[in-house]
């Protein structure tokens, strides 16, 4: 193993192969990002599969292996396939996905027939044409790799130069056309870029997995950023890394095809991205969701206790606290969640246990619950009179804290609250100007 590793770094051909797959991965990531965002992932797949008969026919005509003939054959049959896909959509009621599936399988099937025919011929297995199914980077020779690298560099340069135009075309083609960009031409160019990268990747990655090479780095990159330029760079880097990784592993392990290894590497990066990405990742989303659920439950329980307290307060009664069942009846919440919330509120000294499954608010809890209730009831009033207060843009932000409104508006809203009879009646100690104080309606009497 160590010997082979040494030979990799010293062997000129292997070095070229590594450079080739690196550039190929880079170009795939770059162009794949646009294909993904333009929702043309399937087109890449169709192109790759449809290239097989073209490669076989090129081999039959030329009679030997030749990279440039293969590229021409693959490109021609790929383009022919896109032509059929579009014609089928236009002339029948068949939709795009069905049309792609149809053309893809017919072309691929025909390609397999030709491939079998070639393998049964005299030159048979030496043709190396099998490599196109799963890809075999090690079978590339110097001249091929140089051709692949040159095309990859050209594709990368075009994409970088036209980044701004391709971005607008992908985001809003109508607007692009409106400002006078030749959208037809640019669409054609993007399609050509996709064909280009598919065709040069066929021998290293293989027809079956080439579309994954295009899409996987892009979709993994999407998890890490909210900017297209960053996404394109990250996708390029993931593509390049996967390309090099797959090539290294397949050249050191005998008989291991390159394509699947490249895709395995890219897929592992994708899975890591999907779970652990800082903003869009599943893990972060799950944490946010559970935190939000807890917070909502906490506010609802506090508000419910406040509502009950208020009812008692106006009726000049003091009960024995409020039962868990009573809370659950008013706000649908599971018993386990309710108990979790109550015990955490107890730790915060916001509620107090007054008996078996009986609870009431503490003085501190009342203050907290008062503010939550006030906020919610202000929101009710605000929504009823939204047009009047529209200019405050309250609903524009995720954090709609009405208590942060300017003093004057707040007073106005509180006035409305009074009119509608919705003002919270039990006041916290500090705000209680000589009225009956909360602490469980202190000395209840004094009617």
């Amino acid at each position: 193993m160590s010997e082979t590793l040494v030979s990799i770094w010293t062997d000129a051909n292997t070095q070229w192969v590594l450079i080739g797959t690196l550039l190929l991965g880079l170009a795939s990531g770059l162009i794949g990002s646009f294909a993904l965002l333009k929702k043309q992932s399937l087109i890449g797949d169709a192109m790759a599969h449809a290239a097989l008969p073209g490669i076989c026919i090129a081999f039959l005509i030329h009679g030997a292996k030749s990279m440039s003939w293969f590229i021409i054959g693959a490109a021609l049959s790929g383009l022919l396939a896109t032509f059929f896909i579009e014609k089928i959509i236009k002339l029948s009621r068949i939709k795009e996905d069905t049309s792609i599936g149809l053309v893809l399988s017919v072309f691929f099937g025909f390609g397999i027939v030709l491939l079998t025919y070639i393998n049964h011929q005299s030159k048979g297995n030496q043709s190396g044409i099998d490599d196109f199914i799963f890809g075999q980077a090690a079978s590339l020779v110097g001249a091929d790799v140089k051709l692949i690298s040159a095309v990859a560099v050209l594709l990368i340069i075009i994409t970088v130069l036209l980044f701004k135009e391709l971005k607008l075309l992908t985001f809003d083609p109508q607007f692009a056309q409106g400002i006078g960009l030749p959208t037809g031409l640019l669409n054609g160019l993007l399609m050509t870029l996709i064909v280009g990268v598919v065709v040069i990747g066929l021998q290293a990655v293989g027809v079956i997995l080439m579309s994954a090479m295009l899409i996987t780095p892009a979709i993994a990159a999407r998890y890490w950023t909210e900017r297209l330029d960053h996404m394109v760079i990250i996708a390029g880097a993931i593509g390049a890394f996967s390309g090099v990784f797959g090539t290294l592993l397949s050249t050191t392990t005998k008989g291991m095809p390159t394509g699947p290894l490249i895709i395995v590497a890219a897929t592992i990066i994708f899975l890591i991205s999907m779970v652990f990405a800082p903003k869009r990742g599943l893990l972060v989303k799950a944490i946010h969701q559970s935190r939000l659920r807890k917070q909502v439950a906490r506010e609802q329980v506090l508000q419910t206790l406040y509502d009950f307290t208020e009812q008692e307060y106006v009726q000049y009664k003091v009960g024995n606290g409020f039962h868990e069942q009573q809370i659950m009846k008013k706000r649908p919440i599971s018993i386990s969640m309710l108990q979790k919330v109550l015990s955490s509120l107890e730790k915060e000294e916001l509620v107090r246990r007054t008996g078996d499954a009986l609870w009431c608010l503490t003085e501190k809890g009342l203050t907290e619950a008062y503010h939550i209730t006030l906020r919610n009831r202000l929101m009710e009033v605000y929504l009823m009179n939204e047009m009047t207060y529209a200019h405050f843009n309250i609903r524009q932000d995720q954090s709609m804290d009405l208590l942060q409104l300017p003093e004057k508006v707040l007073t106005e809203l509180k006035q409305l609250l009074k009119q509608y009879g919705r003002e919270p009646l039990v006041l916290p100690e500090k705000m209680n100007a000589g009225k009956r104080s909360y602490h469980r309606y202190a000395s209840i009497g004094g009617k």
Partner: protein, 249 residues
Amino acid sequence: MNSVTVENVTVAYHRKPVLQEVSFSVPEGKLIGIIGPNGAGKSTLIKAILGLVPRASGNVYIYGKPYKQQRKLVGYVPQRGSVDWDFPTNALDVVLMGRYGHIGWFKRPSKKDVEFAMSCLEKVGMKEYANRQISQLSGGQQQRVFLARALAQDATVYFMDEPFVGVDAATEKAIISLLNELKAQGKTVLVVHHDLQTVKEYFDWVLLLNMRKIAIGPTEETFTLENLQKTYGGRLTFLNQQHAIVNQQ
């Protein structure tokens, strides 16, 4: 001088006519509401003017010259639903797209372009959201970003496709004051509009459309019950409401 002249425009999808021989002229510095029932071809008219759908016949002139020569004078606000808002980009970047027509091929937006885009965001009250990812914006804010992008085009004639659909009250107010500001600068704005209740309040001209042009002119003269009946055909229940609207105002 007429800012927009439309001559004999016909549009058909698969032989089914959508617009038939529509001709009209609009003077400079007006706010024009394009009104008509669903499927009347309101959006199609705008798209046909901008060359986004092929015209079966007809010509469009902006300030007396064919549209293609006057592209830089024209700004466009497409329907909000026409793009994927999960696209990886922020508000400022979308507004900068309005500058692309001026920047030219291969070049990147300059500092001046960025400053100009920022000032456009400020005009729609969205300066603080410049770096916000566009999927994180509310519907109204997204609409304002589209509006800012049209402002960034620095145009003289604006076409807006349903800018008031699905926006909050604050945005509606912001859009209206912006439209009036544009008008005060002598610019012409054509707006596809749905809500008959607000027509009289918002627009000083109306174009009533239902496949054909029904009427065009100043709102007081054109937005009449008779014309509305012609535009909306037999939709009677609806018409009774319109009756009330027209009388009440």
